[in-house]
Subunit: 309 residues, 2 copies
């Protein structure tokens, strides 16, 4: 285990992949592993990338990673795929290929499935980010679809959150509907060479006019054609400007403090949930459940009885 930690701190990709698998599978000992990494974290900039399915997030993230790799910098990517563990393998094929290609190139891409995580994605993601942080990646991109309660919370916890929309199709309205206006620090109009890009920009601007700027930051809108690499450099510059803004206003420390508070609360809650799960295996739980199903007791009263013990 110490060897694994040493390899990981050296940035070894195989050690990285293995550690994240241990976290995903909740292999006994994973917790000590992540504990050991904690003191080596806190250096990475965490950038969340979100948007509706089909917005071109994967391509955008790949191009962002490539752009930095070309400059000799390293980037880690956690891609949260709305796939089941059962079917994930085949679908993720293209990302896995990219990962193989990137093995020695300073880019590490790891997909995590949204389902099948004991304790949930909300807990597994910050752990995976911590692993990449400890391995020395100065930038960690977290890519997740911007639909779903947990998924929006996760991406909103980044230092900088990028919301990706497409021209036309009412995408700006969808983003608003999904609560993404409130977490966006930067907007990307991807596929900006298609008709409707100007209207989408106008829609976003109109919605931003209705939203109070947070600490003097109005989210910029960047036109991108990810498939051709257009606008990627400007996007990185904009992310850099946001980062500088966060530092100058003290907002970075506030966000990270909030994130640490959220995570500690989640860990405490998860410990307690495990306790609840254990109690749910007991005869007492089953007896109360029978009474709930027979409608002789409601589940809230049953929970009270269970916890009073």
């Amino acid at each position: 285990m110490t060897e694994l930690v040493d390899d990981l701190l050296d940035g070894d990709h195989r050690a990285l992949a293995r550690t994240i698998s241990l976290i995903e599978d909740r292999t006994p000992g994973y917790r000590d592993l992540v504990s050991q990494l904690h003191e080596h974290t806190g250096h990475a900039d965490v950038i969340g990338i979100t948007g509706s399915p089909g917005a071109g997030k994967s391509t955008l993230v790949d191009k962002m990673a490539e752009a930095y790799r070309d400059r000799g910098l390293t980037v880690g990517v956690i891609a949260i795929d709305p796939s089941s563990p059962f079917t994930g393998g085949a679908i993720l094929g293209d990302r896995i290929r990219m990962q193989e290609h990137a093995l020695d190139d300073g880019v590490f891409i790891r997909s995590m499935a949204t389902r099948g995580h004991l304790g949930g994605l909300a807990l597994a993601t910050p752990q995976a980010v911590r692993v990449l942080d400890a391995a020395g990646f100065p930038w960690v991109l977290v890519e997740t679809v911007g639909v779903g309660q947990v998924e929006v919370e996760i991406v909103g916890a980044a230092d900088t959150t990028v919301v990706v929309v497409n021209p036309g199709w009412g995408d700006a309205v969808q983003a608003n509907k999904a609560g993404l206006m409130e977490i966006a620090d930067v907007f990307v109009i991807n596929k900006a060479d298609r008709p409707g890009a100007a209207e989408t920009r106008r829609d976003l601007d109109a919605m931003l006019d209705l939203t109070a700027a947070v600490e003097g930051w109005r989210p910029p809108i960047v036109d991108v054609v990810a498939t051709e690499g257009t606008g990627i450099a400007e996007l990185w510059d904009t992310i850099g400007a946001h980062r500088a803004h966060l530092e100058s206003t003290g907002e970075l420390g506030r966000r990270r403090g909030q994130r640490a508070r959220e995570e500690l609360t989640r860990i405490v809650a998860e410990r307690l949930l495990m306790k609840a799960r254990r109690s749910s295996e007991g005869d007492r739980f089953d007896a109360l459940l029978d009474r709930v199903e027979a409608r002789s007791i409601d589940p809230w009263t049953a929970a009270d009885e269970l916890l009073d013990r």
Copy 2:
């Protein structure tokens, strides 16, 4: 409060709306209210409707409700919108209009936002379903976007789960990717008058060939054009056939037992989470948090210290 329960059991729509608001807002006393309703529940068929954003779920659900209303039957709908509480109002306008229209017509439609629920959507949804069940709706439709960990779990907990896809666009593959193949009891190809419907049916069939039938049920595929009302009657018949299958095999009781177990576990966990939240307000939590942020202790060890007390 007793008056509210009486009105609700009589099927009064205003009492229904008020009760669900009390649940959403966690108004003190909501829990007693839901407890009192428990003995009146267990009669409704719960049907989950899911699919990617833009698949036409809202229109489908409205047409399904209309079809039953035309036959003098009553239907309750819980529509889970990926909207924030902040922006929800305006966006939900069309659904609210439909609800007003339906006030005296045996259809009750209620939208719930995915964000801002204390304790989360996973707990609020079964409570809202229970309210409609107690109010005497024989069918309760739960509509949610099929992306997101919590959202897929919620819809998968229905008696019958309907997955909506569109022709072309790789929708069948997306459904597979989102883990919807595993929870689907019925597939709807909506907008089936568009090109590519036959290919989508073929894709779904091919994927179903790879999936083991659950208790002898292979999910049927129904062609629908929701905007024109085409295929709605066949869809209801198919849902009825699945229901009959669930009853004849004893699967209905098994699913409901599993649902009750899940809910009781969640309630116990939520109680414990509230305990964790309270502890997170204490000085001791803050002191440990400071040490986590200073990297002198990792969050798991901090949680242990907090819980050992």
